[in-house]
């Protein structure tokens, strides 16, 4: 479980995070939802240690991360896997070498054979067992995201962070990536935090959703509760999507859950 206590962050007097308090639950896909410029990515960077909050603290399973000793921070960081928005694969390495890299650097007790077995397993898990010898420049955006996930889970991470995993992907590939993140989270019981503004992801994988607005947490709940949330800013955000509006219409007419309204039905409306 990751706990965020009163995290504040500002840049040149512009306060981006205004005292965020939230909890990311273990074994669940926790979504940080919000529009552009609401501080989702800044919060994520504060959590993983790429930025230091001005005020507040972050704890990982009871161990304080912010302002702790370097050794303890390193220990926590080694349990973190992260999928970046642009995948952040190392250009000079093949796909397999990218996945092997954290094992080589962090798990020095592993033999080369064990590392290669793990790489093969991880690539197979994300459906890229035949892409190991390719360079990142030779694979598609969706494949890069899969490699990013494989690299993140390779060292048996406890916490998985995904920064807008669907950005730049077509809807079908986005759904596949969402499904993969969801499956991996539940399969390994890890704490996953996904930064997104994609309502499809909310419906697909939102076990626990935190809605940020202007640097503040306005709402949290799950995907079944979100449509009935009585927060005007959240409603405005959700129903800005014509697809969701259409799905809601189907939902009202059929008196069923949103999950029952398929994308096809929504499009037909």
């Amino acid at each position: 479980m990751i706990e965020v206590h009163n995290v504040q962050k500002s840049f040149d007097g512009n306060q981006v995070l205004r005292g965020i308090n939230c909890t990311f639950e273990t074994g669940k896909c926790n979504l940080l939802l919000g529009g552009s410029g609401t501080g989702k990515s800044v919060l994520l960077q504060c959590i993983v240690g790429l930025m230091k909050p001005d005020i507040g603290s972050i704890t990982f399973d009871g161990t304080v991360f912010t302002n702790n000793k370097v050794d303890i921070k390193q220990e926590i960081r080694r349990k973190i896997g992260m999928l970046f928005q642009g995948s952040a694969l190392f250009d000079s390495m093949t796909v397999a070498e990218n996945v092997e890299f954290p094992l080589k650097m962090l798990m020095t007790e592993m033999s080369r054979e064990e590392r290669l077995d793990r790489v093969e397993f991880c690539l197979k898990r994300v459906g890229l067992e035949n892409a190991g010898n390719k360079m990142p420049s030779e694979i598609s955006g969706g494949m890069k995201k899969r490699v990013g996930i494989a690299r993140a889970i390779a060292p048996n991470c406890t916490y998985l962070f995904c920064d807008e995993p669907n950005s730049g992907l077509d809807p079908l590939t986005s759904i596949k990536i969402d499904e993969l993140i969801h499956e991996i989270t539940h399969e390994y019981g890890i704490t996953t935090v996904v930064v997104t503004h994609d309502m499809n992801s909310v419906v697909e994988i939102g076990d626990h959703i935190i809605f940020l607005y202007k640097g503040q947490k306005l709402w949290d709940g799950n995907k079944d509760e979100i449509l009935n949330a009585q927060v005007p800013e959240l409603k405005e955000f959700i129903f800005s999507s014509s697809l969701v509006r259409a799905a809601k219409k189907v939902d009202d007419e059929t008196d069923g859950g949103l999950a029952a309204a398929t994308t096809d039905e929504a499009i037909n409306i």
Binding site: V48, G49, L50, V70, Q74, E75, R77, R78, I80, M82, F84, Q85, G86, A88, L89, F90, D91, P102, K104, M105, L106, T108, F161
Partner: protein, 243 residues
């Protein structure tokens, strides 16, 4: 400027503090030695051979007094090459080639979040990415300077002989006159200092790039400009201190 210098010192400190495992750094250093050293042999060879040749021809052109022996041309080529041209010009050439490559490479890694990926994994990115480059440069620059010295003197020999400015015997007599071995040591000390300046300044510029492709280009340009200025300032300082 003072702020930038302070940030530069902190950057160097962060690289030395919490270093990665020796085996990892060694492997990275060997890779960088190939990129910085072996891949620069061609350009250094061409530049130094022609500089030696041009130096020889131009000295011969200016040395019209019949009372001065022609072997002086060889002597002057040697002195200029060892003391100044080989270490300084080679380092300036390498500032263009290696410096821009280091700044561009690190800048691209920064804007594509590869540096962040290393940090998130708990790897000291400065130590992993920058330290091997600096060590490799400090190992390779002196070797390239030795190569440049040799080829420059050979270039002068060929130019002198082919143009008829002086005979081969006169040239060899000149380059053997009043040889001071310390000058070689001085040149190598200079090359190590220049290597550090070029690699560290370029890495600093690249490592803290923010923005996009344009900023990466700007960081490369800044890296080369600042490295060349640093080389020239250090050249003067070392000459004043060590000679």
């Amino acid at each position: 400027m003072v702020k930038s210098f302070g940030e530069f010192l902190l950057f160097i400190q962060s690289m030395l503090f919490r270093k990665e495992r020796f085996a990892v750094l060694w492997s990275r250093t060997v890779d960088e030695c190939i990129i910085i050293g072996v891949n620069s042999i061609f350009i250094v060879s061409i530049v130094s051979a022609f500089i030696g040749a041009v130096t020889c021809v131009q000295i011969a052109y200016n040395l019209v007094n019949p009372l001065i022996p022609k072997s002086t041309i060889g002597y002057m080529v040697r002195e200029m090459t060892i003391l100044e041209l080989a270490p300084t010009i080679t380092s300036i050439v390498l500032a263009g080639k290696v410096g821009s490559s280091i700044a561009g490479g690190l800048g691209t890694m920064r804007i594509t979040e590869q540096v962040s990926a290393l940090e998130v994994m708990g790897i000291n990115s400065a130590s992993y990415l920058v330290l091997p480059r600096i060590v490799a440069a400090m190992l390779m620059f002196p070797l390239l300077v030795i190569l440049a010295m040799s080829l420059s003197i050979i270039g002068g020999y060929l130019a002198g002989s082919l143009t008829g400015a002086l005979s081969a015997q006169e040239y060899i007599e000149g380059i053997r006159t009043d040889f001071v071995p310390y000058n070689i040591v001085f040149a190598l000390i200079k090359s190590v200092v220049f290597a550090f300046l070029v690699s560290a300044i370029s890495a600093f510029k690249g490592f803290f790039t923010s923005g996009g492709a344009l900023e990466v280009g700007a960081a490369s340009t800044d890296a080369v400009n600042n490295s060349i200025i640093a080389i020239l300032v250090a050249d003067f300082a070392l000459a004043a201190i060590l000679l």
